[in-house]
Symmetry: C2
Subunit: 339 residues, 2 copies
DNA sequence: GATGGTCATGGAACCGGTTCCATGACCGCC
DNA sequence: GGCGGTCATGGAACCGGTTCCATGACCATC
């Protein structure tokens, strides 16, 4: 039993399709009596106009751009999204933004396939997610341009984002420069749920900075877990119970850094006098709470990513834009080690 | 000069429309030679397939739901949006989410008109914005259901949100119950840029609580300005310079409350020992910084709003859902007045 | 009673793709 | 040489609306 069309309604009401259309569009040119008949038929059949057909015949030309991102749960995604919005509103506004949110890793692949198949969007911005070779091909086949906003890696596709290895190194070097030697790393499990190696990359940078200073990586100081404040807090509590606890912690994200700080305070220690903490991201909260962190220009990455995508859609091509360099933002959670 | 269609391409390439379509869809059933000819014609004419027509003929049935909200700048919008996403992903997922963001108040009205005219969406969720009588009629005419997620008021249309007057009263009563009598109010100008009376309503609650306790509203204690942390900080600095400064501040939003706290600390005073601060919203940051506030269930409001909209689209009707009651969340920024 | 205007109405043509069916070329095999 | 099969191809029909044009009813006017 297929959905009723305007012709079914016309037949049911005993009128022509034109009349039904006029009723639907509130034309004045319909007698009250006929209108009633048509409305009755519509109600009876449960008819709902097909928007696609409406738009085709009206000639409305709307272009869509898709943005896909993990469930809006982490502040860093939100900031990137904010940048995306900026780029879009700076533009001519000829595109509508369709937001796809990935609520579970399992569904992500299927969503990409659906996006390619539906061809609803002209372009897709992929925020903080990876796209497999297979899905890249699907998108290309469907004629959908795509750009990533995420950490750089061995990218075989255009991405705007930070070099996480360099960032991890930068954070660790900053702690080393303050005189710390017992430096812990708190991060996500590798590889994380979306099989995206952020934590791993930042750890690599951490390890290489230590190594360059002749410090061996102490696996007791490396604590990995699920992303989130509470898990980071738990991991930090474990660190503080070590016989030889770290004097500084590099948390792979600001959210996790906040968990670290909270654990340190609950253990009766002070930040930064007893333990220093540096985060990564520079989300808005960090400014409020005075967290020292590595600024990765989140808003700007969303903005540049979208801008580049728009450029691709206009077939201007051009180089992938680059973010300003990563920088350590010194606030109040880092200091030289005690003693 | 209208855009080239598939028929133009077919003519140009000297083939049938079916063949062009096959090339577009990477069918195996086309000889290399023909494919080349078609591709050349496509390139020459600058042909781009019309997605609308594709979808109509393919029979793809995608429904869209629109969400319109002020530029993603305030955390409270983001939390509401998060709730929206939750509702949508709990559902059958038959809808795509189109995000409209209002970057300037002037453009807002025009955007609503465009939305009504385009008829791209089946329903519209309006977050933290007002919809005039005129625009409500336009939406209704276009057959677009809409629901608001914003403070209740003299609503002639369905909205899910807090009672701001009651909330303002609740916050003020809490401060009164601690023993404060010199209580200031820091909020947005009325009416604000989007002509939405949040600040006014919360102030009304504030005034009525004071009145019920026999305290006259002291206009020196009422400071209004642009929304934002820095402005609130400035206003608070002014308050602290009064001959008889307040011992407690009710900030109309958590973001503003953070500005208040920062001003108090910069003035060499302690929170809450010298001055208490209560906010409004209970955004995520408030948890991290230990801000006492009025919880208005932001995430839940987005969720319920979207859920109700989906229900309307299924024509189940039903009552507008109600949020759990507002509640004061006591944290570390409020205490009895000094002395 | 003929003329002309207004108005509600039916229905064909159209929007721009996809898909299915008929056609004819070409090949291999009996 | 006739037959059946495969394969590339053209083009009509279709998706489900909107719009325009022709039609005929009805009324007022001369």
């Amino acid at each position: 039993m297929r959905k009723p069309t305007i012709r079914d309604v016309a037949k049911e009401a005993g009128v022509g399709v034109g009349t039904v259309s006029r009723v639907l569009n509130n034309s004045q040119q319909v007698s009250t009596e006929t209108r009633e008949k048509v409305l009755a038929a519509i109600a009876k059949l449960g008819f709902r106009p097909n928007r696609i057909a409406q738009r085709l015949s009206r000639g409305t030309r709307v272009q869509n751009i898709g943005v896909i991102l993990p469930f809006i749960t982490s502040p860093s995604f939100v900031e990137r999204l904010r940048g995306v919005q900026m780029a879009l509103s700076e533009d001519d506004n000829e595109y509508e933004l369709i937001l796809y949110n990935v609520s579970s890793p399992e569904r992500y692949q299927a969503q990409l396939a659906t996006i390619a198949q539906q061809r609803l969007v002209e372009g897709l911005l992929v925020i903080s997610l990876d796209v497999s070779q297979e899905h890249r091909e699907m998108l290309t086949q469907a004629g959908i341009a795509f750009v990533g906003v995420r950490g750089l890696g061995s990218n075989s596709w255009p991405c705007v984002g930070p070099d996480n290895v360099a960032g991890g190194k930068l954070a660790t070097e900053y702690l080393l420069s303050l005189g710390h030697t017992r430096i812990a790393y708190v991060g996500d499990d590798f590889p994380d749920e979306y099989s995206f190696p952020t934590s791993q990359d930042r750890f690599t940078g951490y390890a290489s900075a230590l190594e360059e200073h002749g410090i061996e990586v102490n696996l007791d100081y490396v604590r990995l877990g699920r992303y989130g404040r509470d898990e980071a807090k738990r991991l930090t509590a474990e660190l503080l119970e070590l016989a030889d606890p770290p004097t500084a912690i590099f948390a792979m994200s600001d959210v996790q850094a906040l968990g670290c700080i909270s654990a340190i305070r609950e253990a009766g220690l002070r930040v930064p006098e007893d333990v220093s903490v540096i985060g990564f991201d520079d989300i808005e909260i960090s400014y409020y709470v005075g967290l020292t962190t590595v600024r990765q220009h989140l808003v700007e990455s969303g903005r540049l990513g979208m801008r580049y995508l728009l450029q691709l859609l206009r077939e201007d091509g051009g180089d992938v834009p680059r973010l300003p360099p990563l920088e350590v933002i010194e606030r109040q959670t880092t200091a030289p080690p005690p003693g």
